[in-house]
Symmetry: D2
Subunit: 419 residues, 4 copies
């Protein structure tokens, strides 16, 4: 038993609380009964006309669903410890995120979609009153969307200290130059604001060389170079854009906290986001195992239902065991986030960030295999889920970076040396 456990005095309740149980039911019902039935129609509309605008029907679908969610007060759950939100704990929210993971539309419908939740969290924690008025309010209402600009094409961003977008003060403005890519959501016509990591070298250590600044998406000097593709898909109109900044002038008051504190903002932003991603991944694993079970019951080959063939009992069993373990680890990480310091919680968040996407990829892959060719076709959500899950092994830090952090933390338990 790790020493941490002994120190854990508040009850480590990882179950479904009485408060959140009815919300889970409501979210699950709405996903199943209202959102999922419209998924295909929404998706099939995308290639009509300008790919980078929602069609009128898409807008109608999204807005009516959002209205329905708000009418049921199923909105902004992610604001875990704020008076603006439900006041749910991270553990409680985790169960809701799992349900929302089962439909690609659901997170936006409940205003719980990335990268907006992380960006709203930044405004909530670190933003000025003006920012809250200008951006946060509209985001909480689901009126605008946002992007988070971090990764750069020319520098290995798994080590964020490499980020080099220049940001030089010139009077009342900062002037930004450089390129960002994988700016997810920046293609959406409703995307109004970018939270942007920039390089502002100081005398401090390597984690004090960057700043975080709020950039209006319509500021002159920003060019959309191209959408990055994910397994050949541009995800229009959401998009993962490659952007160029040329002499982009941003008012000095748009800087968050102060120069050199960019990492502080980034860290505050990333923890909850990783847990949300992971719990959605677990929701997709549940979706996959359900599809796999139903397929193996309903389909025959060689004169038998599939589940009776070969290793299929074992495959299903292994998937179940991996899902349960990953969920418990994710809930433990959420509980640490609620009950321990950010530093302590980081050890657990890194673990779940490695474990959950990998597990969900495996379960989804097994489900695809159970379906045969249909498993990679448009007839199941598996292929789309798989591609999205695969990106999670890079997003918010590749596995190797998290494993390094976990390994170092483990070693530090046994030595005073710097490791």
């Amino acid at each position: 038993m790790s020493d941490t456990l002994l120190a854990e005095r508040p009850a480590m309740d990882l179950g479904v609380s009485t408060r959140v149980a009815p919300l889970i039911e409501q979210v699950r019902a709405m996903v199943r009964d209202e959102i999922m039935p419209l998924e295909d129609e929404f998706h099939d509309e995308i290639p009509v006309g300008d790919r980078w605008q929602h069609t009128p029907r898409q807008t109608e679908i999204l807005e009516s669903l959002k209205a329905s969610a708000r009418a049921k007060s199923l909105w902004n759950f992610w604001l875990t410890d704020s008076e603006r939100g439900y006041g749910l704990s991270t553990v409680e929210y985790a169960y809701l995120a799992e349900e929302m993971g089962k439909s690609p539309l659901a997170p936006e419908v409940f205003n719980c979609n990335a990268p907006d939740t992380g960006n709203m969290e930044v405004f909530e924690r670190y933003g000025s009153d003006a920012m809250k008025e200008t951006w946060l309010k509209r985001m909480l209402n689901g009126e605008i969307r946002s992007a988070y600009l971090m990764t750069e094409p020319d520098h290995g961003s798994s080590d964020a200290t490499n980020i080099r977008m220049s940001c030089v003060r010139d009077g009342d403005h900062y002037v930004l130059n450089g390129e960002k890519w994988w700016s997810s959501g920046a293609g959406d016509p409703r995307c109004a604001v970018y939270i942007t990591m920039v390089y502002t070298p100081t005398d401090g250590n390597k984690h004090q060389q960057h700043s975080m600044i709020v950039v209006d998406a319509n500021t002159p000097g920003i060019t959309k170079l191209r959408p990055m593709q994910v397994f050949g898909h541009d995800h229009a109109p959401h998009g993962h854009l490659h952007l160029r900044f040329e002499d982009v002038r941003v008012p000095v008051e748009n800087l968050l906290l102060e120069e050199g504190r960019g990492f502080e903002v980034a860290q505050g932003r990333l923890g909850p986001g990783r847990i949300h991603h992971c719990m959605r991944a677990i929701g997709q694993a549940e979706q996959a195992i359900e599809l796999m079970c139903k397929r193996s019951i309903n389909r025959e080959a060689f004169g038998k239902q599939l589940y009776k063939l070969g290793a299929n009992f074992d495959i299903i069993a292994e998937c179940r065991m991996e899902i349960e373990q990953a969920r418990l680890l994710c809930l433990k990480a959420a509980w640490m986030m609620d009950n321990a310091s950010a530093r302590e919680a980081a050890f657990w968040i890194s673990q779940i960030k490695v474990v959950a996407p990998r597990m969900s990829l495996k379960v989804t892959d097994e489900a695809m295999q159970m379906f045969g060719g249909q498993g990679i076709s448009q007839d199941t959500p598996l292929a789309t889920n798989w591609m999205n899950l695969r990106t999670l092994r890079f997003a918010d830090g590749p596995d190797a970076v998290h494993r390094n952090f976990i390994g170092r933390s483990e070693l530090r338990k046994h030595t005073q040396e710097k490791i």
Copy 2:
């Protein structure tokens, strides 16, 4: 999320309770400070003289440690819900079992060793007053030991319905004939009683064909054929014996419950035992990762500490993630045992029975590899732990049987068919 979770109303507290926290500290301290320092001496005594008797020094070591444990009231923790014991929950006991797993002597020292705990549980739940007086009392005092006779050489015992030791009523006695093997603990000179599964065919279904009967170890007609070896070791004097029963006469009142209810007793016995085994396995995994970390800090090759070489950060990180997941799953299974029906808990116990030994074998194997040749030698506990853990993948049901059960249970969530 599985439906089960929604139904979980009592808080799913998987943490260290305030009640058990000081016990963990006491057990850990006694294992580290009193038991481990005597391990080598105890072990080195074994081959002196008759391998199937404890030497005087071994007896002295064991009895003085047991006396010390009793003096501290660290005794019989496993009696989770009995007034005779601590009244600990299974979750609480699990944390103690983890600590006891770190020394091969520890479980006996605290009177928490297999197969005695399971056998005592049988007497406690199903035994007559006479049995409690004759056997249970002395077992609770650590005066005698016991064995559990189930597996047979000629029948695949992974399917216990195959068991065929005959048991025929003859007046006031049952007459037993057949062979049992892997009767662990039957070599110990203090082993006084066998709980024995026998074949008593009835008209009922296949789980109503067997009975459980209490056999005095000194009954005439029992021959010790040979000790089974585990990776070449006979584990004398404990022993895993191959026994022959020839016209062994047992009083009818020794039958537990009644004819045909052998499976009922077996199931009641196995659940907690599996959790104990698994939590001890997790303790051994913690022991292995600690040794691995220390080795990788203290040893150099190619001019660097080992942890700086190759994949070692990643190996350590993967081990940590697997340990945490397995522990949480084990605690969840323990919690189900405390809070749900035996039938519901079985789904979780089968999972942990597959997961925990496999995980601990992997972590132990990685630790051996980090040590090089020394890792498989007498200089670390790793090789011994590995061999014992490997047996766990058969004991109380091989992995394949548990996976089959898990897979079936999962499929049943999606159909009314018999699966």
Copy 3:
């Protein structure tokens, strides 16, 4: 050593022969210098106008490359044992297939693309003179393309005895009714002929219930219902079509061999095709490990080249070991195809069919991870390769079916029982 090995008298030469060595160099050079430079342009043209026609520029690219290949006599290598081809052995062709696997355009450029090679093999082995004149000649010239219609949406086609497209004789014609899907290449406007598996029940055993018939793609009654998508891509204009046959009348002389011998044709067709697929998969694995190595040398993070970080040496080493093993197994399977009976070779072909795609997926996945987000983007061929490789785990039989066959074959070595 398996007994088969002892019986192997012709030298098991798995190396590059002096005959094929210069061909490998020529193919490799043409892929690298002529084909790859045009890949992006060819691909970017696809969505212009009607997705199901080649654009003039695409036609120009393809035809000029084909002309270049023919001018160099790099054409129709796959005809391994025919006087029409090179007379290469399967082992020799395997090395060429590996090179062609490195560009998605290459197989067609050398007229070695699936499903045309398999279909040409069918015409060569089983076709009438008229068929050779009408179809084979033009296919060998690269003038027309073809499809192979086997899988059906309503029947688990991993067990091909399930195929149920009806084929009823009516005078001089057969009348076909039913649906086929995953008809790869049927979207291509040049696709002129379908080799089609149909259900023609007889009194024979379950492998004598089907026939193979040649269908002109322009026969009335064939409807293109939709393209199946592979991870969201329709692969236009090639396409994997879902087709409906309604009273499609086909002249009786179009039947291959005779009624009930469909499986015989299918088996003759599949063996070489599987080896071609697998060797192309190995070519893609080589492409991936090369990209991974270069990336790890040229990219820095945390102040070091990537290869110096974490487990990267080990990852590269594991990939190399898996590639070498898979290639040798594939060459051995090719050698068996050249030197043993089809029945004996099948044991090896099933093995490589499981091993090669899985290996190449793993290596490609590791390479993607080394690139970070770029690895799944349009900037490397990795994502496209991955998706195509993933389909290989279903195509020509899912892994589970091959494993079952391998397992049964292995067991039969030890018993006379029917297994």
Copy 4:
């Protein structure tokens, strides 16, 4: 395809040659019919009396088997390219080693046992005429045995440049001081000579700091401290000894080659030895899969033969695929040893050194699981094989060192940098 392959001009014949085919049959027959039937009796004699002497019956068994082998001219196969031996190629010998791997007694019976073969190879290649007369001749006759003293307790020997046994010239002698452990075979009363790696620092690079010297086992000053245990077994009388050297005086003419060339001798010695080990490991994998298949046919559970249950077809199939791949890789490495430079061959030998023991451990482990408890008992050879195979992952370099070498070699294909 790797460039190496293109350069391979001599036919890469990995099959059974006509020359070696009858030898394989003879060795196989003798192992099966003469050696295996005596294994249990030989093994059961070990603990009688002084564990470190052979009993008269053991000597009788060994010597009569050796006489039988010599009478059939089945002797000293390993001398691949010498006029003293058969003149077999390494590929040919590999097939024989596979057969000899199936019985722990077989290698000695055919005078092909480690570490003697490696040591004889050293005398053959680097020894003086006097050494050949004194030691090699008697070893080739099977009269004496030998040990190879390399690993030291206080220095990480995975990096052999760490070796520190001192060796200081004093007139006509070298004086040796230090400790060696894992000196396999040094417990055997017939062990007459040690080839010993010692530290003789020079001005050269780090691979020129050591020497190899021949030490008569009876030289004064050598103390046998203890036998190292392998999973609790001392392997008496063979033994893996921990030895202390105190002022051990060795004549200067016993130095092999000259001071500073110890690594040269070590490398020449290790290549063939690794291939022998690996092919024996493959023989054990074949033994395991055969046992697994037979068990799964002959044993029933749940009313069915085991092979019909769960994932057993798949498990057997996966084992078969891994065995075939590992064997082919091993044969390829042997072929490189026969046909390429030592430097080129090293890349392949490192690969097989990682692959073969790991594969054979996996197959053996699956076989154990198929047997249940019996699989780890004295009733099958599986547990013993497993323990011996596990040591192979350390012996002659741990996996991590080989993977590092493979990874570096792979990277060097793509850069001129020093890697």
